[in-house]
């Protein structure tokens, strides 16, 4: 391995680790402010929603297969199926739609 490339990789890893580790390790207070408590309650849902839309519709080979996957995921999620079941079924639905649309593409 070229040592100068290794140096950049280690630098990149170190910065990323410190950003993750420092607040996680050093922050020890219990947040009592109603605003911040609410903020941290809402943030995971907001992050997930912003990550999903609109990106989900370009995550597969076509918007149609993505839509089929989203529909299957939504129905199974409302039936409270496990995360794995929902994810695999949605992938299967998208796969079937793509094969119907384009044939089996290698």
């Amino acid at each position: 391995m070229r040592s100068y490339v290794l140096l950049y990789i280690l630098l990149m890893a170190l910065v990323t680790y410190l950003i993750r580790m420092l607040p996680f390790t050093l922050f020890r207070k219990k947040i009592t402010s109603p605003f911040w408590r609410s903020f941290f309650y809402y943030v995971p849902y907001a992050v997930l929603a912003a990550m999903t839309f609109p990106a989900v519709f370009s995550s597969t080979g076509s918007a149609l297969s993505a839509l089929a996957g989203v529909a299957v995921a939504a129905v199974l999620a409302l039936c409270k199926k496990s995360l794995t079941t929902v994810a695999l079924s949605a992938c299967a639905a998208a796969f079937v739609v793509e094969v119907l649309q384009f044939g089996f593409v290698m």
Binding site: T16, F27, S38, P54, T84
Partner: protein, 248 residues
């Protein structure tokens, strides 16, 4: 802050991590192809994934490395570029880390935080902090296992042979992460009052900033951070969560 002991063990964590692992596999597969075509060796590419575990940061890092490979040596400008890119793109993990500290059980000691802090990603953060009860080291260990393996394996396969999987299969796997997100968001949306408007707001802002040309200077990572923070701030003002619900 610390709550008794988490009811979730390794097994529950592992199961929650499987869909993340599948999604990571497909995403890192693309990363492997990209890094190989930028001129990185397979081992270098794999090392990046195993030491960084983050998509946007790694993609930016490879872009910097592409320039370094052309120059064939270390230069101060590219070192600064690398540092700044990682700092800005990954800053969201600092916010997530603080949020996660509020959800940890008493077994999460300093030594364990030093270790598990490495595994904070958008997905691992979102899944663990949407759990109804506190989470501990065993749950974290389980949760991180499949994503870490999936991320490494996908990178390796992508770098070695971008075409080992049929396109229809990699395309379909691209949906795994998002389907899992939907599965996390939907059930509480029906039960808890604030979650539905919060989700609609964040999704709407994210679509707006993605499609309206005025915002085209924002990268995908920033669109997500801005939409999520804005939606969470607005909801916290309009509909603060009662103490019990936020604690749960």
């Amino acid at each position: 802050m610390q709550k008794a002991v988490s009811p979730y063990g390794f097994r529950e964590g592992f199961q929650d991590g499987v869909p993340i692992g599948l999604g990571y596999f497909s995403v890192s597969f693309g990363f492997g192809i990209m890094a190989a075509s930028a001129g990185l060796f397979t081992l270098e590419t794999l090392l990046i994934s195993l030491t960084n575990l983050t998509s946007a940061g790694q993609a930016a890092g490879v872009k910097v490395l592409e320039g370094v490979l052309l120059a064939g040596k270390v230069g101060a400008a590219t070192v600064v570029e690398m540092l700044l890119a990682q700092l800005v793109i990954n800053l969201r993990y600092a916010l997530m880390g603080v949020a996660l500290t509020q959800r940890l059980d008493e077994n999460m000691t300093t030594g364990k935080r030093l270790f598990y802090g490495f595994f904070i990603t958008d997905e691992i953060f979102a899944v663990s902090s949407a759990k109804p009860h506190a989470v501990g080291p065993r749950y974290f260990a389980g949760l991180a296992t499949a994503p870490y393996i999936g991320w490494g394996l996908g990178t390796l396969l992508g770098a070695v042979a971008g075409n080992v999987l049929p396109l229809s299969v990699t395309n379909a796997l691209g949906l795994a992460l998002y389907a899992m997100f939907i599965a996390i968001i939907l059930p509480p949306m029906r039960q808890e009052k604030g979650v539905l408007p919060c989700v609609l707001l964040a999704a709407g802002l994210s679509c707006l900033m993605t499609f309206v040309p005025v915002f085209s200077f924002l990268s995908g990572g920033f669109v997500i951070i801005i939409s999520a923070v804005a939606a969470a701030v607005m909801m916290s003002i309009v509909h603060p969560v009662p103490e019990k619900e936020a604690e749960a």
